[in-house]
């Protein structure tokens, strides 16, 4: 069952809201590019991957009108199916060019709507999930006070001790703890919101807890939550770094 956030976001996409599409691109672009590179296995260059990932979103916008949420597809599967279709189209086009014929591009395989797409693995699902958490962190960065988020970043993402953060900013440790908790609470809410937005199934919604992000925690869960966020953040950093390097190499 789709949440209102999801349907709202899908509605924006359907209405061709450019900002919604940009948001989607910002959040999941690296994941799509990574997946396309993985499937391409060196047969396509980084520049082509860039182009294909854009085409993926373009194809997504075409198919959004045929989207049927009742058939139980996951959001990640939805993205992946489109990406796979675009890549297959590109490969067919190349083969057709090699043979000198004019083979028509393949039709979009819409079996993804029933959740049947080959190539969906755990790594991909994890990457999509990380992208969602990253989007939530960005939202928190945008909404919270700069110093508050700087405290959270130094304490959690950079791994500095509370004492060091307090000394660095000239604040007391209790103040640091208080402002840290404030950002953490906001982040929890935003993670829940983002996951609800970019999830089509109940299973996807439950991913947060499976990854250590308890959205309704006790006090003891805070440390685990922070640790999970830091790990996700760093892995996502690594993904983006590789994406950026590939882009540089491809010129």
């Amino acid at each position: 069952m789709l949440s209102s956030l999801t349907t709202g976001f899908v509605s924006r996409l359907r209405a061709n809201d450019q900002a919604a599409w940009f948001e989607l691109w910002q959040t999941f672009g690296p994941v799509i590019r990574a997946q396309l590179s993985k499937w391409g296995k060196g047969r396509i260059g980084s520049q082509t991957v860039q182009d294909l990932s854009q085409e993926t979103l373009a194809a997504l916008s075409d198919s959004i009108d045929r989207f049927d949420p009742t058939r139980g597809a996951r959001f990640s599967t939805w993205l992946l199916a489109i990406a796979k279709h675009v890549l297959g189209d590109e490969m067919d086009r190349r083969n057709a060019q090699k043979r000198g014929g004019n083979r028509r591009p393949v039709e979009l395989d819409e079996r993804w709507m029933a959740g049947r797409v080959e190539g969906v693995d755990e790594a991909y699902e994890a990457a999509v999930f990380r992208a969602k958490v990253e989007a939530a962190i960005r939202m928190v960065e945008k909404e919270s006070d700069f110093t508050d988020f700087a405290i959270y970043r130094m304490r959690v993402l950079d791994g500095a001790s509370g004492k060091d953060v307090a000394a660095s900013l000239g604040l007391s440790e209790p103040t640091i703890s208080r402002r840290l908790a404030k950002v953490r609470d906001l982040l929890r809410r935003r993670v829940a919101q983002v996951i609800a937005t970019y999830s089509f199934t109940e299973e996807e919604v439950a991913e947060a807890e499976r990854n250590g992000l308890e959205l309704n925690p006790t006090k003891a869960d805070d440390a685990l939550f922070d640790e999970s966020v830091a790990e996700i953040y760093h892995r996502q950093m690594e993904l983006r770094q590789r994406d950026e390097e590939a882009a540089r190499m491809g010129g």
Binding site: R138, F146, S168, G170, L171, R248
Partner: protein
Amino acid sequence: MASAVGIIFVVLGVLVGIVLAVVLVMYLVVPLFKAIGWIFSRIFGFIGGEIADFARFVGAIVTSIIFVPLVLGTVVIGRWSASAHFGRALQREASTMGGCLYRMFLGHPARLFGLAPLTEGLERRIPEVVRAAPGADKPAGRAGQFEGYKIIGSLTGGGSGAKLYIAKPDPVKKATFERQGFGDVGRVVIKVFSIRDGSTLPQIVRESRALDAARRLGFVLDHDLTPERFFYITRYVPGESLGIVTQQLHASGTSGLSGKELAKAMKYVADLLATLDAYHQGGLWHKDVKPDNIIVHDDTAHLVDLGLVTPLRSAMTLTTHGTEYFRDPEMVRMALKGAKVHQVDGAKFDVFAVGAVLYSVIENSFPAHGGLSQISKRCPEALRWIVRRAMADYDKRYPTASGMLADLAAVRAASDPFSLRPADLPSVRGGNAEQPPLPHHDAAPFVEAARAAHAASPVPPANPAHDRAAPAQAASFVAAAAPRTRTRPHLAVTDWFKGRYRVEREESVASASFGASAASGPRAAAAVAMASAAEAMNRAAERFGSPRPGSAGPVVTPNAGPAAAHAAQPRAHGREARVRAIPDPSRRSAQEQLRAARGRANAARERARSRMTGRNARGRHADGVSGVNPGAATAVFGFIGICVLVAGGVVAGSLLRGAAPQPSGPRVVVSESTAPLSQIPGVDQADRPIAISALAGPEDIINARVADVMNTASTRIAELQEVFREASELASVAAQSPGGTVIVVTDVLPPMTRSARSAIESVSARMMAFGFSVVGNLPGIDVEGEELDRQVELIARLRSARAQVPLGSDDAARIFKQFLAANAEAGDAIVWIAPGEDRDEPTFYFAVREEPEGPTIRTQRIRQTLKTALELGEGGNP
């Protein structure tokens, strides 16, 4: 019992043994192994370092070997800019090799094993250099011609479709730039968009829309837009892009910048911020700040490429142009929502880009994660804070470039940047980064200049808050020109019922200028605003236009860059003029203004003279271009060498020729004219061998030649004597000539033979040589206007008087004498030129005016002189 004691001893012994073993292991074996491990790690570290540096060295050699043919190839095809580019790349490789040698022989610890460094960066360096190679040095077709500039090279174009050329302005242009206050402009960059070369109209429009404002700020020297092309001209700043400089800064290690490199990096970013602050104060934002658009020259960073410069208050829709990673994602979101430029604060997008640039300098990488990008390299915590604050969300980042500059200056000023806490930064300490003082007091005049230029600029101010604060455009001038520290105006309500109020602080100014110390509503605000604007602009004009005694004048901070330095001076004059446009109650009289204008003209003349003097003294190296181009130096020395060789060859040749006896010109003429060729040695020897026996001997030949020469010389001397005699006779005649006016009438009209024309010209020239004034239509004598009319009438009356009377008859002589007597003022004699029997020889008839009492001496002399001049023989017509 004994066995029990033995057992106890054994147990104790075992326990002691175990303890001893543990102690031994803990305090002896473990340290021993640690020591051995430490030694091995050192040894392996050394070996690894040697291998790595050696591999890096080999890699640099391989790269250099690839570059050498590229350098030579571009030299051969005459692409000098490209050859210089590849040469610089080669130089970098040589620098890398030197560093490797240094580390290898001085035992730098190595961190890597294996041969990975062999190809370190190889796959990136070569494509980057090849991709960045400039195009052809000379533009093609008429679209590539720029009046007043000589193209001397080219640069790599960006993504805007433009072509970039390096050019030198001619002296006239240079003088124009100096007159406009741009200083001494050596080399310039011409960025041209031509529809013929593939540029599109939107590109041209986009590039051209903000350049008027940029020119006022001194960032653009010149620009022009025609139906076919658009170009603008900026100063040429030689140097490397910040991207390459960053790689060089990080070349020494992988852990990050420290010490000197870090200080340099911060200096570059500070330069960038100072320049951007000037842009923003001038009502513009750059919109494409990135390492490739920052050129480092003489340890100063210069911001280039004005392709996307946009007025902050433009009414156009915000576009997504820019470069990924350095473009604020928020800007893209706003653009996609259709926001207008004036609805956003473009300065903040530039600040984001500066943060990204600072990140890339620190990390030697792109901020792929936007504001969340992690800084993993060694970096002061305060600097890390600055990056994050600059790349924070739109509402939370530094509101101005100067705010960020203040924080950066604090880090730069710290004795140990690593010990500086974020809490010590001005923006954190003061809690407001919007109004920090500039770090260098020298920068104040430049910023003030930019503000003043902004005040005079039609481009509205940067900060939308200014609009809200003032009801009229004049108020925005105040906001721009006033000091940045905002203070709440002191208002005193004078009439609660009508809503009148008085501005306490501005009262005196307002009343002095407008006599409107108290007025109602917007008009009062506008009046106060105008008064404040006038005061601020006059203050600026005082500071820049006419420095007060003891003041430093328009000092420009080095951080502001040379463009700003040159920009400061010219604007002073323009600003002065604009200041006068504001109503001034103490207007001077016309006489005073005239005196002042003369004074300004004299001062301008003096300035021009001093400029020219200075230019001559500075010579050719005054164009601000430092260093010597090795290629040019080689070419100059080569040219000089060739000249020396050619000159030496000529001298040697002439010496060799001088050693052999060569006949001189006259002698050759005489010889050729008098001696047969067969008798001249050395002529046609191959075809006709000289029969030595047939000659009477060398002495006879010489005597014969001497006799011939003597005969020829005697003849020539006799001819010359005749010429001299005739000339002396003519001279004596001319000396005795009484002068007078001769009326010449000719019936020999064009077309005439060359001989006849020559005779007539000769006669007229001779008459004039003898002192006569000639009147009439002769070849070579042209008159105009009233004199022509007079002469035409005179000749017409003379012809009428003669009618059909034959020229040689007595009647004709009588008619002429009567005419001369009746028209004494018209002339003293008449010469009538008639066609002869032979059409090549015209006949001259002449008559001299006689006095009533008979021929006088003067009459006789005129007749004699005229006769000589006309070369009339005996029996000629009198």
